[in-house]
């Protein structure tokens, strides 16, 4: 119950729909139980007494009852659903807001698939219980109580005899639930595995074809498909054992009713109409009892789902705004690191060790080193995506924690190795960081990023839609759009994280040319593998395992005998060789 209490703020505002639904339910049950009574009266008081005069009154009463039943059924269901979907609306808004603000650290450990399943399947399970599960519990209780009262009212011995086999039904239902739910979970898991298999096969089709492993893939698929079929059939077997048995137990009630009820009619203890009423009443008991396990299971599932939702809603924002944040005005872009150390996960190795440097406004800092050496970590600290373990980070001489987080980030532009573009037009993608930008500004940014020409060559120009179904862009084109996006916010600090590694030489050349233009007047951090990309930097930092092992200008590092020179030698050996040969033959 703790879970439901904690989530109260999301559903309690809509409590009146819930109570309206319960209120209607009361009438639904009342009118349901009335039907067998009407039948009994028809048989005993009209037909057997040959009292046809009662028919008009009874018919009218019956229609009245049915109208009340119809209306209350409608409100019971609609209000219940209303309660559930209003809660979903509220809950989703809160979840989304939370997800937008959670730190990089949170996302480092989260999987998209897992988050998505919480946002969809778990929200749905929770809703189902609110809309349906809880009131179904109430409905079952009321209907069973109501039917039993009517039965006992008619005849205590007949009720007892007819209900004699009910305990067996309860045992069978319990057994069935114990077996069928794990079986269903196995089906779902097996289906999940089959799905993963197909997904990997299709996504990795190039690799499959390149090694011509189609037959192997078909075998693996058949294996998973067979597993799914087997699990499904196992469940069907459980179903085929228990479900007819439950119905059979209900039918035993019918038979005992007929035998003992018939006997009672013969002795004159009851009238035939009572038997007719009982035929209906029996199923009012059997039906809900068969459903009971399902509802209980739904309750425990929704509780677990609620817990998973709370995990998101209650996770802490690690990066907090200062209590009195300063709004940066006229940022110059002076970035300073003083002895900064960073650890991502406690007790893990340090990702950055005692990093210090000073990047005055407008200067360029080059970062080079192997994958995992800490280049990206440095740039992510500048924007406060992570907090350093120790040391000091200054922007324009002021600790960055003093600034308003969002305002500060608006002055820093990012271009990442794998440019992420959203499902919208090219225009809106460029304007992502500045939705108010004019069309002229957007075109200007695109031109400076060398993107304007290829955008104009597309059938819909700037209105071309991107995304899964949208125009396919090459890696270089995406990268140039992401550069335009970064320029459009006119940042004072620009971070280029390996922006050109996944493109061919010619495209790289184009992008580099674009970058050179946009770096003017901004403090720029360039992360690159190729010496040519960062050799003009005002300071080059060579990183190894989170520490700066070499620093200085290109010319200084070139003959330093360190890792920089080693990388240079590899990258330029061809040039020496080729251009050397070339001179000989010229």
């Amino acid at each position: 119950m703790e879970t439901f209490k904690k989530l109260k703020q999301y559903y309690w505002p809509y409590k009146r729909y819930f109570f309206l639904s319960l209120f209607s339910l009361f009438f639904v049950v009342l009118t349901t139980v009335a039907y067998p009574i009407v039948m009994q009266i028809t048989v005993d008081d009209i037909i057997r007494e040959e009292n046809y005069g009662l028919v008009p009154v009874l018919s009218l009463v019956f229609i009245g009852i049915m109208i009340v039943k119809s209306i209350s059924t409608f409100f019971h269901q609609y209000m219940g659903d209303y309660f559930g979907i209003s809660t979903v609306f509220n809950l989703r808004d809160s979840l989304y807001k939370k997800l937008q603000s959670l730190s990089f650290h949170y996302y480092d450990n989260a999987k998209t698939g897992d988050l998505m399943s919480r946002l969809t399947a778990d929200v749905e399970l929770f809703r189902f219980f609110l809309s349906f599960g809880f009131s179904e519990l109430v409905r079952i209780t009321l209907l069973v109580l109501g039917s039993l009262s009517v039965m006992f009212y008619y005849s205590v011995p007949l009720a007892l005899v007819t209900m004699a086999s009910m305990p067996f039904l309860i045992v069978v239902v319990r057994k069935f639930d114990q077996r069928v739910h794990p079986a269903f979970r196995k089906i779902r898991k097996s289906f999940g595995r089959l799905n993963t298999r197909v997904q990997e096969n299709v996504s990795g089709m190039n690799t499959v074809k390149s090694l011509s492993r189609e037959d192997f893939e078909i075998d693996r698929f058949a294996d998973k498909g067979d597993n799914y079929r087997q699990h499904y059939l196992n469940t069907a077997t459980i179903w085929s054992k228990y479900f007819p048995l439950m119905e059979f137990i209900g039918n035993i009630c019918v038979v005992s009713l007929l035998g003992f009820g018939g006997y009672l009619v013969m002795t004159g203890a009851i009238d035939v109409g009572v038997i007719v009423a009982y035929f209906t009443l029996i199923w009012y008991l059997v039906g809900p009892l068969m459903n009971f396990g399902f509802v209980i299971n739904n309750f425990s599932q929704s509780k677990a789902a609620g817990e998973r939702l709370l995990e998101i809603l209650e996770s802490e924002d690690e990066i907090k705004n200062a209590s009195e944040p300063v709004n940066p005005q006229g940022v110059k872009g002076h970035v300073t690191f003083n002895d900064v150390t960073l650890t991502y996960v406690e007790n893990d190795d340090q990702a950055l060790k005692n990093i210090s440097f000073d990047a005055p406004p407008g200067k360029t800092i080059g970062l080079i080193g192997a994958t995992g050496s800490g280049k990206t970590s440095i740039t992510q600290l500048i924007t406060r995506f992570y907090e350093p373990e120790q040391g000091e980070l200054l922007l324009d001489g002021r600790p960055i924690e003093d600034y308003s987080l969002k305002e500060m980030r608006k002055h820093i532009g990012f271009v990442l190795q794998e440019p992420f573009l959203f499902s919208t037009s090219i225009k809106d993608n460029i304007a992502y960081g500045n939705p108010e930008a004019s069309m002229d500004d957007i075109i200007d940014a695109a031109k400076r990023a060398q993107a304007h020409d290829f955008i104009m060559a597309m059938p819909d120009g700037y209105d071309t839609l991107l995304g899964e179904r949208g125009m396919g862009l090459s890696g270089g084109q995406k990268q140039r759009i992401s550069i335009a996006r970064a320029i459009l916010i006119n940042p004072k600090v620009l971070v280029l994280d390996d922006a050109t590694s996944a493109v061919d030489m010619e495209t790289e050349f184009k992008i580099q040319k674009a970058l050179k233009e946009v770096m003017k007047g901004r403090t720029t951090f360039i992360i690159a593998h190729r010496i040519s990309s960062l050799k003009h930097s005002d300071e080059i930092l060579v990183l190894e395992d989170g520490a700066i092992v070499e620093r200085g200008l290109h010319e200084q590092l070139l003959n330093n005998g360190g890792p920089y020179q080693r990388i240079y030698d590899i990258q330029y050996q061809d040039k020496e060789a080729i251009l050397g040969e070339n001179k000989q033959h010229a």
Binding site: R92, Y96, T112, S240, T371
Partner: protein, 608 residues
């Protein structure tokens, strides 16, 4: 049918998602017959068993009310004979036992039928898709292919499981009830049957209307889901550009749209049951009023008849409701099966000859004899290319995007057949050989290799599924992958996956080399294999590459000079023609296209 969702309020234009909108397809007999062919293998096993079992339990359901009404109420009760009553009770119990067995057998066998048909259909589709060309995959998103293999097939599951049997059962039941009622009391039967058309109307038209409104909800939901997915993946970009508030506003809008359409759908759905209740009520009122009138004034109608009627009146709705559902289900099955058949009708690009030759052991001697090729009518990808690659030789293909490099590789693999001329390996035209045998001898190492979820061991073994652990480890050692694998927490048993970050780009590349080495092909094609790797890693990989290529005919497609310069032969391509060929030194001396290409690369870098 795809349509762009347009949001109502202007600020909702921030993101735009396109969605498949499910439309009802008109009923198509041919398609249904084609679907039913998948039932044929079970036409003599599971299907008849299920039908017989169904007939048994349906018969019991129909007989018992008649026995209770016409015999027990009318004939046994008035006699006061308790023994007779007991024997009737025992008789009915026996019938119920029979129905219990019938139900159990039916449930079991309809599932056997359904699951087998679904398995066969999915297997057929999956195997077929495996054989389709790269083009097929290039033109479609992975998601849309997966949806057909998984969801579209699944949506036929219910049809093949309960659908066929229920259609039969419900028709029999409905017709039998009508006949029984007509026999028991024609007048009362005719009066009560007015509810049947009303019920049919509710079950089909009203339900269709409701289904439409749920489709709207699903469309809205899938937009919400698309956005959620994207917002999670792009959260770093959002935070760097401080767009959290704008996104939240957008989401609030689509969330509200969903809420509204959802509210409409639940409202319509909530009206369904009341209509059913009212139609039931009409039947009951007729029974009460007209039934009791007949019993009192018509000597032919008895109290037992009335009791029989009360049983059957409650049994109308079930079959009608299911038949209505069936109708809806069939319409949905039409659109799903149309999409499935669209894939099944897709032809593979190349066909194996009936008398194709097995290609087991080859030398790796490749010849192109005046090969011309075009992917589509108006654009020629290769113009009369003739070339030769000797066994064990390394050949580099150089040229801009679209010059024909990949096409040559595709022809060697026989993903396509040339439009003119011929491609030969060891002197045999590829059109005469068995595809599997040919491709077993060729491996392609790609720039972007796929990591399947599983252990490192399994991933390398993908190159040759029957390789032993030792062979896998040997292959890893040869390409120099053993070092980093040993350093991982669980060594070769470390679990990896495509989107995991356990492996760096260079390490992934080494794994793909190990895979290719394990496959031990005679011909190897490297397609931009080293493009995304940093310099120091590339140096390490060069060694591994040399070991991988040793003794094999190798075709290298690359931009980087360092990978090309050691080749035995360099072929420079432009617009599907060979401009020049020779080794690095020859071409540099020649000062032609290749020389220009090399020079411009360095000049470009120097200009920066």
């Amino acid at each position: 049918m795809a349509e762009t969702l347009k949001a109502k309020s202007p600020h909702l234009k921030r993101f735009r998602y396109t969605q498949d909108i499910p439309v009802d397809k008109p009923f198509n007999w041919q398609q249904l017959v084609r679907l039913l062919k998948y039932v044929k293998p079970y036409a003599k096993t599971a299907l008849p068993i299920a039908i017989i079992a169904m007939l048994v339990s349906t018969a019991v359901r129909l007989i018992v009310p008649v026995i209770i009404g016409n015999y027990v109420v009318d004939q046994v009760l008035p006699t006061g004979d308790t023994n007779l009553l007991l024997s009737f009770a025992v008789g009915i119990l026996a019938l119920y036992l029979l129905s219990y067995v019938g139900n159990a057998v039916r449930i079991k066998y309809v599932n056997i039928l359904g699951q087998n048909v679904i398995y066969d259909l999915r297997h057929h589709l999956f195997s077929h898709v495996q054989r389709l060309s790269n083009r097929f995959f290039d033109n479609r998103s992975a998601g849309s292919i997966i949806v057909r293999i998984m969801n579209d097939i699944n949506s036929l599951q219910e049809l093949f499981t309960n659908g066929i049997i229920n259609l039969l059962m419900d028709s029999i039941m409905l017709i039998s009830i009508v006949i029984i009622l007509l026999v028991v009391s024609p007048k009362l039967a005719l009066a009560i049957m007015v509810v049947i058309p009303i019920m049919f109307y509710i079950s089909t038209k009203l339900r269709k209307n409701i289904r439409r409104s749920w489709q709207q909800v699903r469309i809205q939901q899938s937009r919400v889901n698309s956005h959620l997915n994207e917002s999670i993946q792009g959260v770093r970009i959002t935070q760097s550009f401080s767009q959290e508030d704008n996104n939240t506003e957008y989401f609030h809008g689509v969330n509200d749209d969903t809420f509204q359409s959802w509210r409409i759908a639940t409202k319509k759905s909530a009206m369904f049951r009341p209509f059913v209740e009212m139609s039931n009520a009409i039947g009951s009122v007729i029974l009460i009023a007209y039934g009791s009138y007949l019993i009192i004034y018509d000597p032919q109608v008895t109290l037992g008849n009335f009791v029989t009627f009360t049983f059957f009146i409650g049994m109308f709705w079930e079959p009608i409701s299911r038949l209505g559902q069936m109708y809806n289900q069939l319409l949905m099955a039409m659109s799903a099966s149309e999409r499935i058949f669209e894939f099944l009708d897709e032809k593979p690009n190349v066909k194996e000859k009936d008398d194709a030759i097995e290609m087991d052991d080859i030398q790796g001697h490749i010849e192109f004899d005046k090969v011309q090729f075009s992917y589509d009518e108006d654009r020629i990808a290769l113009h009369e290319i003739s070339l030769e690659m000797k066994p064990g030789e390394t050949v580099a293909l150089v040229g801009h995007t679209g010059s024909g490099k990949s096409t040559i590789a595709n022809l060697i693999n026989r993903f396509y057949d040339p439009t003119q001329g011929s491609v030969k390996i060891d002197g045999t035209d590829l059109r005469d050989v068995k595809l599997d045998g040919l491709r077993q001898n060729i491996s392609v190492v790609l720039q972007d290799t796929f990591i399947f979820s599983g252990t490192i061991m399994e991933n390398i073994r993908f190159g040759r599924p029957d390789a032993s652990d030792e062979e896998v480890i040997d292959a890893a050692k040869v390409v120099g992958a053993d070092d980093f694998i040993q350093r991982l927490a669980d060594g070769y048993e470390t679990e990896v996956e495509e989107r995991g970050n356990i492996l760096s780009a260079g390490e992934r590349q080494l794994l793909s080399f190990a895979r290719a080495l394990l496959a031990d092909p005679k011909i190897i094609i490297l397609d931009e294999a080293t493009a995304s790797i940093d310099t120091e890693t590339e140096v390490k990989i060069q060694d591994a590459l040399k070991r991988l290529l040793k003794g094999r005919t190798s075709i290298i497609i690359a931009h980087r000079l360092s990978t090309i310069r050691d080749s035995d032969n360099i072929i420079v391509l432009e617009n599907g023609r060979i401009l020049e060929q020779g080794n690095h030194n020859e071409l540099m001396n020649h000062q032609g296209e290749y020389y220009g290409l090399v020079k411009s690369q360095f000049q470009m870098l120097d200009q920066l």
